[in-house]
Amino acid sequence: MSKYETGHPGDGCLLQYNDGELAAGEARRVERHLEACWQCRTELDELRATVADCVRYRQAVLDRYLPPPPRPWVDLYEEFARLDATEAPAALPKRLARAFAGAAQWRWAAAALAAAAILCAVFLQLRKAPSVHAAELLKKAVAIAESQPKAVRHIRIRTRTHQITRLIDGAGVEPALAHRDADAPAIQALFAAAHYDWDDPLSARSFQAWRDSLPSKRDEVTTVADPERPSESCYQIQTAAESGELASASLTLRATDLHPVESRLEFRDREWVELTEIPEPSMSGTPFNEHLEVPGRPASPSLPAATPREPASISDELQVMNALHQIGADLGDPVDVTRSGERVLVSGVGIPPQRQKQIHELLASMPRVDVQFSEPGAVPAPAEPDAGGRTALPASPAAAGSAQARLERQVGGRAEMERIGAQILDWNESAMARAYALRSLAERFPASAEASLKPAGRDTLEGMAREHAAAMLRHVESIDGAMTPMLTALGGSASAARAGKPDGTWQTSAENAFRAARRVEVLLSVVWGATPGDSGAADLPSALLTALQQLKAELEDCQRLLSRNAGG
């Protein structure tokens, strides 16, 4: 007997049916039900009318009233050519090497290597010389820079022994700040010796001027990750000089707009200068000091050439996470914390303005943290305000055989079922917020990373984890308390929960708890008719009871491991 012969599919199920998202068998069952059921056919018609409203809204409102693109679209073929020309010439040889790396038969391997060598030679010949790329790139970068208004930029300049930050307005240094930098004259002397423009040191124009002055040079153009945003790419021009104070210099240009973001000058006496554009919010106008280096790591005034910057550490990230935790911004608020180069970036999606302000104020005193939000006007509602929308099953005598209908009868009618359903889904939402936060901590700070933290850092981390686990367990117990009598009355019984490993880590346990919570969430939404599930109605009460017991066991296990650490 089809389950829809005795009950109605929920509106979630109808939407999935309408969207072609149901499995074939399920879709056929819904179809057969629709043939027989006026009520569900009407439901489906209304749902389709809402979908049609969405489409009309897209056409009549978004298409019509959103602003058009401000500029003509680029010719993508030109961009392809630019990308092809500037890509690392080693890309093809590398792919060939990879293809041949596993060759077991030496004859094939030898033939393959010979072919690869010939192909590389031909390929490199056919590619433009890097000098041409460098000159072209610099020319374009200069043209772009000169076509734009001069904005004030914050440039951090580091040498082996000094570090200062300058405000550059495109025409020179702001005098007030320049006078405050006691180290500036020493660095300026280096620039003078290298005949490199001190007034606008991080620019394509200055690099071009220096490069053009060289009688003999070698260029290399490569694609590298953006130092601030590793997911994006940059072009790096490296020019080696045969003569002069500077042995080589590199300039890193953002691929999207050829904006210079980083430069490094290598002197023949092994001195070096590194220039980096830094975002405004981190600036205080005073020179950076060595004590602002990464907590937990030794200050390194003389970094080796291959390590141009000290990246932000997990301690930095932990401090930010802990601060956010204090105001509950690690729960539900779509706040993201990432380490980006030497800074920790806190970004957010649709954060209400008051919350943004609160987070800005909270993190203002942290020197290596950037906070970047947009949408100050958007205040997204985290959940449906109306509980009625959550339960999907219309009351119907025909639904008497389904688990939902029996549940409805048991709790005393549809209104009561909706009320209880809304309460349970709220608890579940709170539990899931904790589950995500706990798992996020476990993922960010795996056992190996935690071991590298100082004792105070470990205490902070585990304190947060304990708090999440305890709060989550409270919500789960509330769900369990409300659901168990109902599910037991429906004939459900829990199987024994699987025991956790006595020697596991809390991180693994947190991940297990997260999975168990997801299982509970799915089953709850099936029980309350929010989504169709793969469990048969008869097994559903037992499945949910078992999942709840498992979740409680996982959480208790996690708490035990965290307490053990606290005790030891």
């Binding site: 969207d19 998202e21 602003p67 961009e79 707009d257 649709g350 947009s374 799915v522 939404s525």
Partner: protein, 184 residues
């Protein structure tokens, strides 16, 4: 690796090198067809128009790079929206200092004489619908907008980092909310 498979790999890589023009055509065609949709999606994500336009171009260049590296993409349009969404979030985080994009749709919708083709009743209806859309949670909105762009639940889930069943639930809640607006 046997001899023939080395040979196949060799031929495959050479073919890939030669196939760039075909890839370029493929990406350029998709760009032509989808750029406006991706641009609109990024505006709804909160990007300022110039940033949204740059982001669209960047996404299609990434598509080209990815295809060129030999990676196979089953549904390029879905891929483009997924990458555009993630890239858009990063751009949006960076543009915090800029004036946020405010479409001011509601006032323009109701401005008299704005669009004689639309009846006042229809404009009022759409203004209500716009309010209802604005009342959705961020996740619900993302699900609705991505679904409007033709993405399937698993693709939306992969874009937003949630499960397909969660997408179903967000859409269900969203449609239930919007339905009330349609009935008002």
């Amino acid at each position: 690796m046997s001899g023939p498979s080395v040979g196949n790999a060799f031929v495959g890589i050479l073919r890939q090198e030669r196939a760039h023009p075909a890839l370029q055509d493929q990406v350029a065609k998709l760009f032509e067809e989808s750029r406006q949709d991706v641009y609109r999606y990024l505006l709804t994500l909160g990007l300022a128009p110039p940033r949204a336009q740059e982001a669209v171009q960047e996404v299609f260049m990434r598509l080209y790079s990815t295809l060129k590296s030999g990676e196979s993409i089953e549904n390029p349009r879905g891929w483009v929206f997924r990458v555009a969404h993630n890239h858009g979030l990063q751009v949006r985080a960076r543009q915090a200092s800029e004036e946020p994009f405010d479409p001011g749709i509601e006032s323009r919708l109701m401005a008299t004489g704005q669009d004689p083709e639309q009846s006042l009743l229809e404009r009022e209806r759409m203004a209500r619908f716009h309010q209802a859309i604005e009342g959705l949670s961020e996740q619900q909105k993302r699900c609705v907008f991505l679904r409007l762009e033709g993405l399937r639940y698993p693709e939306i889930g992969s874009t937003l980092g949630i499960s397909a069943s969660a997408v179903g639930e967000f859409l269900r809640r969203a449609v239930s909310h919007l339905r009330k607006a349609g009935h008002e």
